[in-house]
């Protein structure tokens, strides 16, 4: 006031925002890091006399500081003493909040000596839960979420026409459709955009559809494909199902880490013991993790991951994982190691379960037994070996010794009766490769092994479902490798028939070969008899349909030998990347996926005879998946009856097809009529607008006419 200034005047003159307060701010700054997080409260320490305090302090300080630096002096470590005795609890303050967290996580529950167990908590937790009233005294029962109806999971099997469902994945959109043969597939649900961040996958019997998201896997099912369960696994990449849809296996490149806050932990499916694991087995129905594993060290950091990492026995009873020099077999649902120990197998390369229970010749076990096969390569003093092991006894039933082996591939027959091991062997010089096929006949006495020695190297092998026939694609490895020359040979094999037309267990006979092909893949119809041999992944994609039981009516006398392969149809499909039979064996879908290249993306649908039904080119098309079906419930007698009355059934189906086609065309026509009407309606608005009809007066200015002025003919001799 002395200068006649008021505060208001000052404020007018000095813009407060311009004043530099940094020096003051620095002096009175509140330390943000200084918080309750740095404190831990330790309970359960021994109650001792004052005299022993220095010793006890020393021990505890040492223990605590192994997790991080403590603050100096009493600030860092304070043990209250009353009446000359410690009180059994103490406080510690770490310099870093992280160290406090670590100490709580690892020290809590630690047995200090026989009678003292340390209880370590953060001060903030004590604040939150320890003071009176913060935690209700009364037990309130947690609310059980109301049961959500998801509809009948096998609803699609009740379709009156017995159609199959298919999934089309185009760009970011996934839609489920009914297969309508030639017509546009009918929507089951409205196609969903952004349904999955990677791919969609059906469970092996078709009950569940899973989508992959950065947070985990989501399963869908029922008539409307409603959400069923979430399997929270951060950054999950690969998924797989057990054959009976009881378990889901997921793999993520990120190890599991526990969330920091208690609130998040409440919704987190994993516990401390799962930490650092990457492979998880889930119970599909409950959505809870059943077991998790760390990756074996030799798979850590590998670019190409062998998948599945967990292989299941046919009925989900056992699952097995291969480690270096050992096989870990687990029993479900406990997921404990079988016989509590690993099965040691030196340098095991690969193993496969028998896909069905096997009725061994000398076995009295009802319903068959569990078998698995594995192979080990040659080592300095041992030959390569393929072995059959019985589970749960882990007894090796049969081994064969093999020499000069470069690779083995085990192909089980779908009924588990036969195991074909494709052995790629190299000549002594090691320059060229050829194949042997070793057949284990598991249901016969002593499990005989039959050998088929070939000159060529077999690139592909496939058993016909339910029968003992198979197809191979082989190539003579003569050292030259010119991709322009088609060298692949398709061979059709069947067991040789003896005089009494009874299948002998002696040998397999090649009854047909087709040479000079590019073909590289074999797809048997799931119902047998028909097979598709295709060329995939080359620019000259081709599909060939074969009937392997073609009965030539022209030779009525010669109906013994029904093993003849007849080419029904060959189709070119340049961009093809994948091919798949529908579960009923009636249709074949081939598609070109944008995941692999951008050539001719879309799909084609064929009948089993090779007749093309649909050719749908869709930009950004990614995947075509048939919804799998569970095994048929019909008994053998039922099936026989159906076959007997096939003619009647087919007449009914033909009629239904015709009606279906009719309604489809009628609808299309009606739709076109409607569109035309709408258009005329739209155009009528402009009827009054003067039409600039192009009335060009044809005026010929110049006309060119060809006239022959002179014509000469020269005869040259």
């Amino acid at each position: 006031m002395v200068h006649g200034y008021t505060y208001e005047d000052l404020e007018k003159e000095i813009n407060v925002d311009d004043v530099d307060y940094t020096d003051l701010e620095a002096r009175y700054q509140v330390n943000q890091d200084f918080g309750l997080d740095n404190y831990v409260v330790i309970d359960g320490a021994p109650v001792t006399t004052e005299a022993k305090v220095p010793v006890l302090s020393k021990v505890l300080k040492k223990l605590l500081s192994s997790y991080g630096e403590l603050e100096d002096g009493d600030d860092g470590f304070y043990m209250p003493i009353e009446d000359g005795k410690t009180k059994g609890y103490l406080f510690a303050q770490f310099k870093e909040a992280d160290s406090a967290k670590k100490a709580i996580r690892q020290l809590n529950g630690k047995q200090l000596d026989k009678s003292h167990r340390l209880l370590v908590n953060s001060l903030s937790d004590i604040e939150n839960y320890g003071s009176e009233g913060n935690v209700p005294e009364e037990f309130v029962e947690p609310e059980i979420p109301e049961f959500k109806e998801h509809g009948f999971l096998k609803d699609w099997l009740l379709d009156e026409q017995g159609r199959d469902q298919l999934l089309l994945h185009q760009s970011e959109t996934v839609g489920i459709y009914w297969n309508k043969k030639k017509s546009d597939p009918e929507k089951v649900i409205e196609p969903r955009q952004g349904f999955t961040s990677k791919y969609a996958k059906f469970s092996p019997k078709g009950t569940y559809l899973c989508s992959i998201h950065p947070q985990g896997v989501q399963s869908w099912g029922g008539p409307e494909f409603e959400s069923l369960s979430k399997y929270i696994h951060n950054q999950v990449r690969l998924i797989d199902f057990s054959p009976n849809e009881n378990y889901l296996v997921t793999l993520s490149p990120l190890p599991i880490t526990m969330p920091e806050t208690a609130a998040e932990r409440a919704h987190f499916p994993f516990k401390e013991e799962n930490e650092g694991h990457k492979l998880v087995i889930w119970d599909i129905k409950t959505g809870e993790p059943a077991r998790s594993f760390a990756l074996p060290p030799h798979l850590e950091g590998q670019k190409e991951m062998p998948w599945p990492l967990v292989k299941w026995s046919h009925d989900d009873k056992y699952c097995a994982r291969q480690g270096p020099n050992a096989l870990a077999i687990y029993e479900t649902p406990s997921f404990q190691l079988l016989n509590k120990k690993l099965v040691q197998i030196d340098s095991i390369v690969d193993f496969e379960w028998a896909p069905a229970s096997v009725k061994l010749a000398n076995s009295k076990v009802e319903g068959g037994e569990y078998l698995l096969s594995y192979w080990t390569p040659e080592s300095s003093n041992q030959t390569a070996r393929v072995a059959l092991m019985q589970i749960p006894s882990t007894q090796v039933l049969r081994t064969t010794n093999l020499f000069q082996v470069s690779d083995c591939k085990m192909h089980w027959h779908d009924e588990g009766k036969y195991l074909c091991v494709k052995v790629d062997r190299h000549t002594k010089s090691g320059k060229t490769v050829f194949s042997n096929l070793e057949f284990f006949k598991t249901t016969e006495k002593d499990i005989p092994v039959e050998k088929l020695e070939l000159k060529e190297v077999v690139v592909n092998f496939a058993w016909e479902p339910k029968t003992e026939r198979f197809i191979t694609i082989s190539r003579l490895d003569d050292g030259t490798n010119n991709p322009a020359i088609p060298k692949n040979i398709i061979s059709f094999y069947a067991p040789e028939l003896s005089q009494k037309t009874k299948i002998t267990s002696s040998s397999y006979k090649c009854y047909d070969t087709i040479e000079k092909k590019y073909s590289n893949t074999i797809f048997w119809s799931p119902k047998g008899r028909f097979a598709v041999v295709a060329t995939i992944g080359k620019s000259n994609g081709e599909i060939e349909f074969y009937d392997c039981s073609y009965d030539d009516d022209k030779k009525p006398g010669n109906n013994k030998d029904v093993n003849k392969a007849k080419l029904l149809k060959a189709e070119k499909y340049g961009g093809m990347t994948n091919l798949s039979w529908d579960p009923s064996g009636r249709f074949v879908a081939a598609w070109s996926s944008a995941w692999i290249h951008t050539i001719e993306n879309g799909y084609k649908l064929f009948e089993f005879t090779g007749n093309m039904l649909r050719d749908d080119t869709k930009d950004q098309f990614k995947e075509f998946i048939w919804r799998p079906r569970p095994a048929s419930l019909l008994s053998a007698a039922d099936r026989k009856r159906v076959r007997k009355n096939l003619r009647e059934y087919s007449a009914q189906f033909d009629e239904a097809d015709a009606m279906e086609a009719d309604t489809a065309t009628r609808e299309a026509i009606l739709n076109r009529r409607r569109l035309l009407e709408e258009w005329r309606d739209y155009r009528s608005k402009y009827a009054k607008v003067e039409s600039t009809e192009n009335e060009v007066q044809a005026e010929i200015i110049e006309e060119i006419k060809e006239e022959i002025i002179e014509e000469k003919e020269e005869v040259i001799e």
Binding site: D619, R672, N694
Partner: protein, 349 residues
């Protein structure tokens, strides 16, 4: 019928056009020359020489007296069709992407590119037919600048009677301006909503041959749309499987022709059969694809339909123009619904 292959340009075609009578074809190319051809036999009437850069666009007035070209050499030239003389030259500040005469020939619009720090515009000039046509006013009658919040205009054209200017934007939107005042009226998203493509730029706009009351757009988003001028309502959507560079509406038959194909920069990496370099015919009303015409071995850049509907010409990235005339089967083709409609109409009269 075998098409006539016009091999006169040394680089990719940028636009082809018929005159009103359909006896002449005007074509421009990246080789900085424009050509005029007889459509009946493919003989070249002459070339228009003078531009020093890619010519992006050409248009001819309805009397075939003057034609104009817009070029990347920052100029628009007016030429006398009969002699091929350049009668006037407008200097612009950026490349000219599109030129178009108004239906009454009194105005010329030019779309200038938004590059080099300049704002993109639609510039309208008055055209005078006095004397030897050299007496043109270089002052634009109207300059429509890129609107706030909108992306640059890439193509534009006049609607019926020059009432509106329809402009196609780089982000797939279509805008309508008053043809006399340049006032903005309406905009609508035409592309990028029927699929999940990222590049949405509109590549061509062509008007209905009968009365210019609706138009077709083509876009890099692999779609083409039919839009009403009055309401900017999207009437039809045609979905293709490759970026579309051009689209045209056919007179006589209710068809549209789309052209395009895989981006030119990807062409060398794939076979011809996979490049999708075909002209695609769709039914204008039913939206069904009817057929494709092969021939070019590069993407189609421009398609023009003969004004009397007897054929079409397509200019490709491969540097060729193919002039097709339709066969009888083209005119005979009818959908069941169309046949019944015709039967009813003839029965009534």
């Amino acid at each position: 019928m075998r098409p006539i292959k016009l091999m006169g340009h040394e680089r990719s075609l940028t636009q082809v056009k018929y005159n009103r009578e359909g006896d002449l074809i005007f074509s421009v190319s990246k080789d900085s020359s424009a050509s005029i051809w007889y459509s009946s036999n493919g003989e070249r009437l002459g070339t228009l020489e003078g531009h020093k850069g890619t010519i992006w666009s050409i248009d001819v007035d309805s009397e075939s007296i003057l034609c104009s070209t817009g070029s990347a050499d920052l100029s628009i030239r007016l030429w006398k069709v009969a002699t091929g003389e350049c009668v006037f030259q407008y200097e612009m500040s950026t490349p000219v992407r599109r030129v178009a005469f108004s239906p009454d020939n009194s105005k010329l619009l030019a779309v200038t590119d938004q590059v080099m720090g300049h704002q993109g515009t639609i510039t309208v000039f008055n055209i005078s037919y006095e004397g030897d046509y050299t007496n043109q006013s270089a002052e634009p009658e109207l300059v429509i600048k890129t609107r706030e919040g909108a992306t640059k205009v890439v193509v534009a054209g006049w609607s019926h009677g020059g009432e509106y200017i329809i402009a196609g934007h780089e982000d797939g939107y279509v805008s309508k301006y008053d043809g006399h005042t340049g006032e903005f009226i309406q905009t609508v998203q035409a592309h990028g909503k029927y699929n999940e493509e990222k590049v949405l730029s509109i590549t061509d706009i062509q008007f209905a041959p009968e009365d210019k009351s609706y138009f077709i757009t083509s876009s890099k988003d692999k779609c083409s749309t039919l839009i009403d001028v009055e309401t900017l309502e999207i009437l039809k959507v045609y979905i293709a499987d490759a970026p579309m560079n051009t689209a045209a509406i056919t007179p006589k038959k209710n068809f549209v022709i789309l052209g395009g194909g895989q981006e030119a920069r990807n062409v060398t990496t794939t076979a011809e059969s996979q490049g999708k370099f075909e002209a695609r015919f769709y039914h204008k009303i039913f939206v069904d694809e009817i057929g494709r015409v092969k021939g070019h071995f590069g993407p189609l850049n421009s398609i023009a339909v003969h004004p009397n509907g007897s054929g079409y010409a397509s200019g490709g990235e491969d540097g060729f123009i193919r002039v097709h005339s339709f066969d009888k089967s083209y005119f005979d083709f009818e959908y069941d619904a169309e046949r019944t409609e015709r039967a009813i109409a003839s029965g009534a009269t």
